[in-house]
Symmetry: C2
Subunit: 384 residues, 2 copies
């Protein structure tokens, strides 16, 4: 199997953007190629991670439009959709394209344009991810998050404040990310007194609705050695499903897709959770950061909240989590989010993360679709 | 690189179906696993080729639902969208998953549910494939087909009747396909006197709107040798784009994506057009059968119409094309069509095509997205 490298990365400013997804994708794609110093006509596979351009914008065939806009024709194009984990699925698809020998230069661009729709409309599109039975009864993703948070706090006797620590940390990190939607610190009190959304979760436990795009450029390690002085390898990547009907899960605080995709990704990389120096976890809701942290083996079940409270996951802690600001402060443009996680790990591993920089040789990105219905995990290392 | 085999295939009845896409996908998926004698929990990757379940049915996350319905959890799932060539893109994705070593058993299921929407609504969703500028001016896919057919007939002094020969042949083949939407023969006169749609094309030059699903099961050739007494190999598969703005093409009768994906697929297979014994071409419009036939090198530019008139592409001709009945009579449930092309070639190569059977060791499937905006081509051979 061909070893797979990443030799370029980019992301646009996340937030409210006066542009269509096509424009955002082109912005990130162009910047990624420039970052790598690779011409667009060298791209032979172009993947677009996007959940719902048809529903949000009435536009399909976006990957073909992007090949046109970037000047990448006749590159093969395809849209990768795995709901809110489309970006992580894109990393897996890009990895497969290079590892299989199908491609020598795969550009992955993830993006979504959402803020032109009302919150109700956007929520309705996102809720169509869930099982029709649950969707029909009004059980949306935020309500799953509330129910799960309540179960976690009860089961492990964890304080409500521990969730607020996640929000405070990720907002703190976002201040130093020029691409983040929200660049403002918040304190525990602000988080704890924000409006109730789905008990016990409040406004500051949720990520916002966001426009944005991010891109990564993949090639064989041998090609990377020619093109780049420094690069990153994707040493293990995998994905897995959990029950589509969320209420059928035995223990709602265990995300089976996280556990299984993490296990496989570590196995492929020949590494374990103890080897990871920095991680981007899918904090669409604060509670999810705990569930992934535990599911990936960074802490025993029921103890992630302690690491959050004690600062283990802070930028200066033993295992910094969401140095980018996470979905919480950076924003969550569905198809872009998993790719932007890869962007942050890439920058951290190459020592290019500026004020957010931590000391890292091995990084991990975990991207969650639906309410853990499908999850991808990627382990990345400094390339040699 | 791991050699890739197909060890099972299925398709549902195509036509108007009183079922959601989820049900259709489960029907094809179950049947495919049964055909191969493989248990659902052996599936580790599950790809769903589908263009627009969100737009047609307000339902996303369908691959996760399917993993649930088939009992394939915790298999990794992903939706593969490449507009009307989503099925061919699915074959390419499944091939990459096995060839890369990521998967030992990949189930690909393609499907679409369309007939519950009005023709206007369905056409509007399909038209969103095209470039927004062209779309906005009302240039839909049928109108591109009409303009291109006119250019072809003029450029090569081909008789209008030659297009009708494609419709007559494919309807004739469809009579023997129990899964086809239309199982009735038509004569040249019927085709030539049917209502005008986009001059010079008439009703019988167009495929219908269809519900349906098809599935293929992929694994490494070594695994296939254990599981199956006979199987098929995917010896070459590739995809390529042409301009997204159709009117920017120099010669509208040359489909660049067909030419390039065919060239790459043949190169990977170590074969050429002269080696192909049977082909499924994307006859969404009759004119497209000529353009692919020429683009893939089966005939010189401007001569495909002669082979159609002379019966070369008939079931008893030198190169049978669309023995399944093609999209014309079998129907065109977008995401299913490319997979169903693979189904037909699989059946032909294994000698299981019943009354449609031809003598074939090498087959080819060409799936066209948009108006050739992106095309995939797969070369398949009898496995040994």
């Amino acid at each position: 199997m061909t070893e797979v490298a990443i030799i370029g990365a980019s992301m646009t400013r996340f937030g409210e953007r006066d542009a269509w997804v096509r424009d955002l994708l082109a912005e990130a794609g162009d910047a990624c190629l420039a970052d790598a110093g690779v011409a667009s006509d060298a791209v032979d596979h172009l993947y677009v991670s996007n959940m719902a351009s048809g529903e949000f914008e009435g536009m399909t065939g976006v990957p073909n439009a992007l090949a046109h806009d970037l000047g990448a024709m006749p590159a093969y194009t395809q849209r990768v959709d795995q709901t809110s984990s489309s970006g992580g699925a894109g990393i897996y698809a890009a990895w497969q394209s290079v590892a299989s020998g199908a491609s020598d230069m795969t550009l992955l661009v993830g993006g979504e344009k959402m803020t032109h729709r009302t919150t109700g409309e956007a929520t309705d599109v996102i809720a169509s991810i869930t099982h029709p039975v649950e969707y029909k009864h009004g059980v949306t993703l935020p309500s799953f998050a509330g129910l799960t948070a309540r179960a976690y706090l009860d089961q492990y006797d964890a304080p409500r404040e521990s969730l607020a620590h996640v929000a405070v940390k990720n907002h703190r990190n976002g201040v130093d990310n020029p691409h983040a939607q929200f660049r403002k610190e918040i304190d525990l009190e602000t988080a704890l007194e924000s409006p109730l959304v789905a008990d016990p979760l409040r406004l500051y436990d949720f990520c916002p609705i966001t426009d944005g795009s991010a891109a990564l450029l993949f090639c064989p390690v041998e090609v990377a050695r020619e093109h780049a002085t420094d690069f990153v390898t994707v040493s293990g990547v995998a994905g897995a499903t959990d029950t589509h009907v969320v209420h059928e899960r035995g223990d709602p605080t265990v995300m089976g897709g996280v556990v299984e995709s993490g296990r496989q990704a570590f196995e492929r990389a020949g590494l374990g959770p103890e080897d990871v120096d920095v991680a981007e976890l899918h904090d669409m809701f604060t509670i999810l950061e705990f569930l992934q942290y535990e599911g990936l083996g960074f802490a025993e079940p029921g103890t992630a909240w302690q690491d959050a409270v004690e600062g283990v996951t802070a930028r200066d802690g033993a295992l910094p989590v969401n140095t980018s600001g996470g979905l919480k402060s950076k924003g969550h443009p569905l198809g872009a989010s998993g790719v932007a996680q890869g962007y942050e790990i890439y920058k951290q591993l190459l020592g290019e993360a500026g004020p957010r920089q931590v000391d890292a040789e091995v990084g991990l990105a975990c991207n969650v679709g639906g309410f853990g219905n499908c999850v991808t995990t990627a382990v990345m290392e400094v390339g040699r």
